[in-house]
Structures are given as C-alpha cells and as structure tokens.
Amino acid sequence: MKRFAGRWATATVFVALITFLPSAALAHIVKGEATGFVSGFEHPISGFDHIVAMIAVGLWGAQLRMPAIWLLPVTFPLVMAFGGFLGLIGVPLPGSELAIALSGLCLGAAVLTEFRPALWVAAILVGIFGLFHGYAHGAELPPGQNALLYSIGFVLATGLLHITGILIGILHRWPWGKIVLRGAGAVVLCGGAFFLWNALI
C-alpha cells in the first residue's frame, strides 16, 4: 500500500511538473506549410462529387478484378494530376462540371451493373473522368500555399479515397457482398444524377 502511495505521489508530482512545460512548442510549423498540407488534403474530400467518383473507381476496380484492381488506382492519380497540371497552366477545358457529374453517373452505373468492358476501355473511361476531376482541382488551386506540401496532401487524399473504395470492394468475394457493392453503385448513380441535375440547371 505504502509503495503504491509513493508511486502515486511520484506520478502526481510528475504530472504537475509536466503542466509547467512551455506551451510554445513550435514543432514543424514553418509559416504556410501546415496550411498547405491540410488544405491540399481537404481539397479532394471537400466535395461529394469527387468523393463518390473516386471511391467508385476503387469499387469498379475490385469488381473487374486483376489487373484492373491495381491498374485503375495507379492510372487515376496520374491522369488526375495531368488534369490538375492543365488546370494550373490555364488550358481551357469546357464542361468540366458536367463531366464530373457524368463521372458519378457512369461509374455508379458501371458498379451497379458490374459492367465488364475490355481493360483498355475501362482505363480510358476512368482516365477521362480523372482528367476532368483533376482539371477542376487544378483550376481552383489557391495561390500562396506551399506547392509541395499542398500537392502531397492532395495526392494522399486522392489515393486514400481509392484505397477506401478498393477495401470496400473486398466484399465482392462473397455473394452478399456483391449485392452490397451493387447497392453502393446505385447510391453513386443517384448521387451522379443529382450532381448532373445541379450542373444542368
């Protein structure tokens, strides 16, 4: 008991002293950097139209199985970054909002119907949608951020959304999981229809 009380007292003193530690812990925050990473990370996950499309890519990849399950997530960030590059350098790409809305609609329909085109067709389809998604991000990039950290956050968030889709796509192994995935495709399809409606009116 005495030993326990002694340790308790030690811990109390320790905690009390810890509270006197300086509050000015300036770890890693170089001006602008944290904002750059956080805002870059937030960008792809700040719009549901982007989220559903990117998760749908992962879901569709899982349904198409090998090699699409890895080809699509490897291809999509590259094409999306190319779209971002076009947006950044100011190349006009009209109808990007319409194409983004259509991407949700088409990818949702593909997941819902377990559409199995040739691999190159799937890659081109995903690539075109990725281009428009990236373009929209690139054209909207705010000035004055740390370019590298912003880009790291942006690419990381995009990749994590794909991985989320692929992980959900593991359900495809089981019969009930296939139904769940098709249901998810229906949700993405409805979301795409909603976004398309908003883009048109």
């Binding site: 005495k2 009380a5 320790f14 002293l17 300086p22 970054a81 950044l88 590298l148």
Partner: protein, 208 residues
C-alpha cells in the same frame, strides 16, 4: 503514506531539466551539431526524402546488383551538387524546382510502370537526383565547415534511407506488396506533374 525520497524525484527533475524552452523540431539551433542538422533536414524535407525512397523502391524491384550500384552513385552526387552550391557555382532558381518536378515525374513514372530501364540509365537518374537536390539544399549557403558537415549529414541520411527502403523492397514477392510500391511511384509522378503546374503558374513562388 511514505515520504518522498530523492529517488522519487529523479524522473520529474530529469524531465524538467531536459525540457526545452521552445521545441525546435527542425534542429536549427539545438546544439546537436551540423551533422544532425543535415540528417534532420533530409528527414524533414519531403522534396528530398520522397524521391530517394521511391527511387530505392524502383531499383529494389530490379534486384540487389542495381540497388548497390545506384546506392554508390546517389550520395556522392548529392555531395557534389551540394558542394557546388556551397562554392556558389549553383544558385537557387526556378530551374532547380522545375528539374525537381521532372525528376519526380521520371522516377515515379518509372516505378509506376515498373519500367525495365538499363542499369546505366538508373544510375544516371540517381546522379541527376543527387546533383539537383544537393544543389537545391545548399544554394545560397556559405561554404564554411559546419555547412560542409551538414552536407555530409544529409548524404548520410540519403544513404541510410535509400539502403533501408531498397532492402525492404528487395525481398518483395507478394503481388499486393509490389503493387503498393508501384502505387507510391504513381503518387510521386502525380506530385511531379502538380509541381510542374505550380511552377508554370506561379514561377519562383512555387519553388519555395
């Protein structure tokens, strides 16, 4: 309740004694010395760290011979690039930032595609990476002894990170693990493209 003995206060006293007045994670003035400053600079600079690790993944997938050859080329070229900058032969320009983005694209693209590059080309890419990033790290810095030691510290970090990452990749057999490595290449290439766009749009502002 037992009285507190001196032994009970050792841990709190030591903790408080070692506590910094301001936590300076970048080790700019910790007193640990320039070598550790160099190592920490490398570890905390994603523009240095990421391409080295991705290049290590790439050559790791090519086998131990290629990994060893690239390992022998990368740190010396990094040192040469840094030393040239210390001698004021290289200046911090938007060109260095543009070359960095091209190298990101090249290295990341090669890994994403699992390209079967000739060993000489891999070494050339490693040499270019070392020279460009070494120059960028020390552009505008004076050539005094602590800075040369810091450069050696960075080269040590480059060597260690490359060796560890390549040795992790060498024994990869499972397909999903190789795919994960290739996805990291795809992400680096995507970073390179975005950086190129930033540099195009904002010029020197993007190369901060």
């Amino acid at each position: 309740m037992r009285k507190l003995t001196p032994r009970d206060t050792i841990l709190p006293a030591t903790t408080v004694g070692l506590a910094p007045t301001v936590a300076q994670a970048h080790l700019a003035a910790t007193g640990l010395g320039p070598a550790y400053d160099g190592i920490s600079h490398f570890a905390l600079s994603p523009e240095d760290f990421l391409p080295v690790v991705v290049l290590a993944f790439f050559v790791g997938l090519r086998g131990p011979r290629e990994a060893r050859l690239v390992l022998t080329a990368l740190p010396p070229c990094w040192f040469l690039g840094g030393f040239a900058a210390l001698l004021d032969l290289v200046h911090a320009t938007v060109v260095l930032a543009a070359l960095t983005s091209i190298l990101f694209l090249t290295i990341g693209g090669a890994l994403a595609a699992n390209a079967k590059l000739p060993t000489s080309l891999s070494i050339l890419v490693a040499a270019a990476l070392g020279t460009v990033r070494g120059s960028a790290d020390f552009a505008g810095v004076h050539d005094n002894l602590p800075n040369i030691v810091a450069l050696l510290g960075i080269c040590t970090g480059v060597f260690s990170a490359f060796a560890i990452a390549a040795s992790v990749t060498l024994p990869l057999q499972r397909l999903w693990a190789i795919i994960a490595a290739r996805v990291s290449g795809s992400w680096l290439a995507a970073l390179g493209l975005l950086l190129a766009g930033w540099i195009w749009r904002y010029g020197a502002l993007a190369s901060r």
